[in-house]
C-alpha cells in the first residue's frame, strides 16, 4: 500500500515539475502569430488552388493581414463577396474586380478539323505538344488529351467526347487559372464573364496564313479583317493572321459575329437572334 502512495506522489511531483519547465520553455520560445490570420483563413474558401498566386489559402491570409494595401490581392474563387468579408474583418478595402471565366479558344472539332494522323503514346497534352505538330493539320489548336481537365480542382472543365474539345462549366469555373497554365498550346484564356455570362471571343489561335489555316480547319480565323472593319468599339486587333477581341473594350454588339466567314467568332449565352426579315423591316 505504501509503495503505491509513494509511486503516485512521485509521479505527480514529476508531472508538476515538468509542467513548470514546459511552461517556461514555451514562454521563452514563443512565436507570436497574428490571431487574425486564422480568422481570415477560415473566411477564405479553403480550396488551396493557387489562383491568387500564393501557395494556398493560409499563405494568402498571411498576405492579406501583412499588407496595408490589399488592392492587388484577389481570391478568384471567393470573388467579391469573400474578399469584402475578409477585408471588412481586417478593416481594409478590397479591390473591385469583375468576374472572370476560362475561355477555350479553339473551335476545331473532329468534324471541322480532319485528323491527319493518330498519336498512340502517352495521353498528355504536354507530351503530344512536345513530340510533334499534332494529329490535325493545325499545329496551334487543341490536342484534346485533357491536361486542362486534370488540372481543374473544381470539376469545371471537361473534354466533350464528340468534339474532343474542352468545355467550361460557367457556374463551376472560378477563374483560378490552373487550366491556363496547364495548356501547352496556350489556348485557354481568362476573360471577363460579362453580364448574364454573355461573351464574344475569337475561337481560334492559328497564326498560319489564311489559306493554310483554312485548309487544316474549317473554323479557323483566316485574318480576313472583316471583323476589324465592322467593330465600332475598336476592340478587335489583327496580329499574325489572327484576330483578337479585347474583352475589356468589347461592348457585346455582336456585329463581328455576323460577318465572320468561317464562324470563328463565337457568342455565348445570347438569346437567339430575331429572324433576318423582321430585322430588315426594323432598319428600313
Amino acid at each position: 500500500m505504501n509503495t503505491i502512495i509513494v509511486t503516485i506522489a512521485m509521479l505527480s511531483a514529476l508531472g508538476v515539475f515538468l509542467a513548470i519547465v514546459l511552461y517556461f520553455v514555451a514562454q521563452k520560445f514563443k512565436v507570436y502569430e497574428d490571431p487574425r490570420i486564422d480568422e481570415v483563413a477560415s473566411i477564405l474558401p479553403g480550396a488551396n488552388c493557387g489562383g491568387c498566386g500564393f501557395a494556398g489559402c493560409r499563405a494568402f491570409a498571411e498576405a492579406l493581414v501583412a499588407n496595408e494595401d490589399i488592392s492587388a490581392l484577389f481570391c478568384p474563387v471567393g470573388g467579391a463577396d469573400i474578399m469584402n468579408q475578409a477585408a471588412s474583418h481586417l478593416g481594409k478595402t478590397a479591390a473591385e474586380k469583375e468576374k472572370m471565366v476560362a475561355v477555350v479558344r479553339c473551335g476545331g472539332s473532329c468534324e471541322l478539323r480532319p485528323r491527319t494522323s493518330t498519336f498512340d503514346g502517352a495521353r498528355s497534352c504536354a507530351v503530344i505538344a512536345a513530340t510533334y505538330g499534332g494529329d490535325t493539320g493545325c499545329t496551334y489548336g487543341c490536342v484534346g488529351a485533357g491536361d486542362c481537365e486534370l488540372s481543374c480542382d473544381f470539376d469545371a472543365i471537361h473534354i466533350n467526347p464528340v468534339t474532343l474539345l474542352p468545355e467550361v462549366d460557367d457556374e463551376k469555373c472560378t477563374a483560378c487559372g490552373a487550366c491556363v497554365k496547364a495548356c501547352p498550346k496556350f489556348i485557354i484564356e481568362l476573360r471577363k464573364k460579362g453580364p448574364k455570362s454573355r461573351r464574344i471571343f475569337v475561337s481560334c489561335v492559328n497564326k498560319d496564313k489564311g489559306g493554310v489555316a483554312k485548309k487544316s480547319c474549317a473554323a479557323a480565323c483566316t485574318g480576313c479583317t472583316k471583323c476589324l472593319k465592322v467593330c465600332p468599339h475598336e476592340a478587335i486587333t489583327i496580329n499574325a493572321n489572327l484576330a483578337y477581341i479585347d474583352h475589356t473594350k468589347c461592348k457585346l454588339c455582336r456585329k463581328c459575329v455576323e460577318g465572320c466567314p468561317t464562324a470563328a467568332i463565337h457568342e455565348v449565352n445570347f438569346p437567339p437572334r430575331k429572324p433576318a426579315v423582321e430585322k430588315a423591316e426594323v432598319t428600313a
Binding site: T116, S117, D120, G121, A122, S124, A126, V127, A130, T131, Y132, G133, G134, D135, G137, T139, D208, V212
Partner: protein, 442 residues
C-alpha cells in the same frame, strides 16, 4: 572477350534486311526543300532570293554563328519560295524551296570517282573546308562537325573514334558505306586525325557485321595507326558516351564533353562527307538513306540528295504497303514516327522504316510494378520509373537532381517495360524542361 560498354543496354533483334542492297543513286525530284535549321544550334540565314537561279552545291543559306552550319542546294533550278514548310512532324519551319531544272553542278566540285589520297593540309584548312561544306554529324543529332573538330584551348584530343557500331536495328547505311566506299572513308579518317592532331584512330564496329570488319582490317594497314575494334552486339553501343566507354574504356562524366576525356567521335557518314568536302570540294548535299522494313516491297539503300520528299523514296521502293502502321524516320529505337510523308529529307536523315500496323501498335499501359528493369537497362544509370513520375508531377528540381538531362533518349527503358508505360515520352518532356531551366539560369 569482345569490348562493350558497362551499364545497361538491350539486345533487340537486328533485322538488317537491307544489308545486301547496293547503294542506288536517286535522281532529284521536281522540287527540293531545304530547312534553314537542319542542325543543332542557330538556324542558317538565306543568301538567295525568290527567283534566283541556283546550281548544285551552291551556298543558299549561311551559318549564323559558330554553332551553326551552311546549307547548300542539292539541285539546280530556281528558288520559288522562302517560306514556312511543314516538316516530317507536321511542324511548320522556315525553308527554301527550289524548283528543279536540269542538273548543273558548281564548277569547283570534282565529280570524278578517282580516289584522292593527299593529306598535306594544315588542320585549319581541313576545319575551314568542313565548316564551309556545312557538314553535320550524320549519326542523328546533326551537331555541326567543325565545332567538334575545333578542340577548345586547354583541352587535348588523344583519340579519334569512328562510330561504325550501327547498333540500331534495321539501319544499314553505314555498313553499305563501308562496303562500297570504305577506302574513301579511311582517307577521311586520316584527314580527321590531322585536323585534331591525334596519333591514333579507332573504328568501332559491332560483331554482327563481320564483312565490314574484315574489309576495314584489310584496308587499314595502308592508313597509319587505325585500329579496328570489334564490339559486342548491344544497343545503344553507337551512343557517343557508350562508344567511348566500349572502345577506349573512359567514362564521360555527367555534363562533360567527350573531348574532356580526350576523345572525339565521328560517324562513318560524316567521315565520308569530310573526305568529299576536303578532296573533292563537295559540300554536304547527299547522304545515304536506308529504306527498309519487314513489310517494305523492296529493301533499298539510296544515295539521296538532301531535300528530296520522303514519299519519293517510298515510291522508288515499291510504294507504301496497305498494312503500314507507322513510317519512322530513323531506326526503330530512336527514330520518330512521322505524320507528313511529303516532308523533305534532311542532312541527318539516315533511314525510312516502314512498320506494319500490328507491329506498330502500342500496348495498353498498366501500373508500374517496380520490377526495376528500366533501371538495369538504362545505359546512363538513370531511374526511368522515378523520372516519369516526377515529370507527371512537374517536379523539375527533383528531375534535375536525378540527372534527367543526361538521358540520351535511346528508348531502352520503354522497350523493356513489362507494364508498357510510356516512359520515354515523359522523360523526353522532363528533360526538355530541365534543359530549359538550366539554360535560363545561365
Amino acid at each position: 572477350m569482345l569490348k562493350t560498354f558497362r551499364l545497361g543496354g538491350i539486345h533487340p533483334h537486328d533485322n538488317k534486311l537491307s544489308a545486301e542492297a547496293a547503294i542506288e543513286t536517286v535522281s532529284p525530284a521536281e522540287t527540293a526543300q531545304f530547312f534553314l535549321s537542319q542542325h543543332l544550334g542557330a538556324p542558317a540565314a538565306p543568301t538567295v532570293n525568290k527567283g534566283d537561279k541556283v546550281k548544285v552545291g551552291q551556298l543558299i543559306a549561311k551559318a549564323t554563328g559558330f554553332v551553326s552550319a551552311n546549307i547548300h542546294s542539292s539541285v539546280s533550278g530556281t528558288v520559288t519560295s522562302i517560306d514556312v514548310v511543314a516538316d516530317h512532324l507536321g511542324i511548320r519551319r522556315p525553308a527554301i524551296t527550289v524548283k528543279v531544272e536540269g542538273d548543273e553542278w558548281d564548277e569547283n566540285i570534282d565529280r570524278s570517282a578517282e580516289l584522292v589520297r593527299r593529306t598535306d593540309y594544315t588542320p585549319e584548312e581541313i576545319i575551314k573546308r568542313v565548316a564551309e561544306a556545312g557538314i553535320v554529324g550524320l549519326g542523328g543529332a546533326a551537331f555541326p562537325s567543325h565545332v567538334k573538330l575545333s578542340v577548345p584551348p586547354g583541352k587535348k584530343a588523344e583519340a579519334l573514334i569512328i562510330n561504325a557500331a550501327e547498333c540500331e536495328p534495321y539501319l544499314t547505311s553505314d555498313y553499305r558505306t563501308i562496303m562500297e566506299r570504305g577506302e574513301e572513308m579511311l582517307v577521311g579518317v586520316q584527314l580527321l586525325k590531322k585536323a585534331l592532331g591525334v596519333q591514333k584512330a579507332y573504328i568501332g564496329v559491332e560483331i554482327n557485321k563481320p564483312q565490314a570488319i574484315e574489309k576495314l582490317q584489310a584496308l587499314s594497314s595502308e592508313y597509319g595507326e587505325v585500329e579496328i575494334v570489334p564490339l559486342k552486339k548491344k544497343y545503344p553501343q553507337g551512343g557517343e558516351k557508350q562508344l567511348i566507354k566500349a572502345v577506349i574504356n573512359r567514362e564521360v562524366p555527367s555534363g562533360a564533353l567527350p573531348v574532356d576525356v580526350g576523345a572525339v567521335v565521328h560517324n562513318v557518314g560524316t567521315t565520308l562527307a569530310v573526305y568529299e568536302a576536303v578532296q573533292k570540294r563537295k559540300p554536304l548535299i547527299e547522304n545515304t538513306v536506308t529504306l527498309t522494313g519487314k513489310i517494305a516491297a523492296q529493301q533499298k539503300n539510296f544515295n539521296v540528295r538532301v531535300g528530296t520528299p520522303i514519299s519519293r523514296l517510298i515510291e522508288l521502293a515499291g510504294g507504301l504497303p496497305e498494312n503500314t502502321g507507322k513510317v519512322v524516320l530513323g531506326g526503330p529505337m530512336m527514330g520518330k514516327a512521322i505524320s507528313n510523308l511529303d516532308a523533305p529529307t534532311q542532312k541527318s536523315t539516315s533511314s525510312v522504316l516502314l512498320i506494319s500496323d500490328s507491329e506498330a501498335e502500342r500496348r495498353e499501359p498498366s501500373a508500374c510494378i517496380r520490377c526495376s528493369r528500366c533501371v538495369s537497362v538504362c545505359p546512363m544509370g538513370l531511374e526511368p520509373y522515378l523520372l516519369i513520375r516526377q515529370t507527371e508531377r512537374k517536379m523539375y528540381e527533383a528531375l534535375e537532381q536525378h540527372n534527367a538531362h543526361d538521358c540520351i533518349e535511346c528508348g531502352c527503358c520503354i522497350y523493356t517495360c513489362p507494364a508498357n508505360l510510356p516512359l520515354l515520352d515523359y522523360i523526353r518532356l522532363g528533360k526538355t524542361e530541365v534543359l530549359k531551366i538550366k539554360r535560363n539560369r545561365k
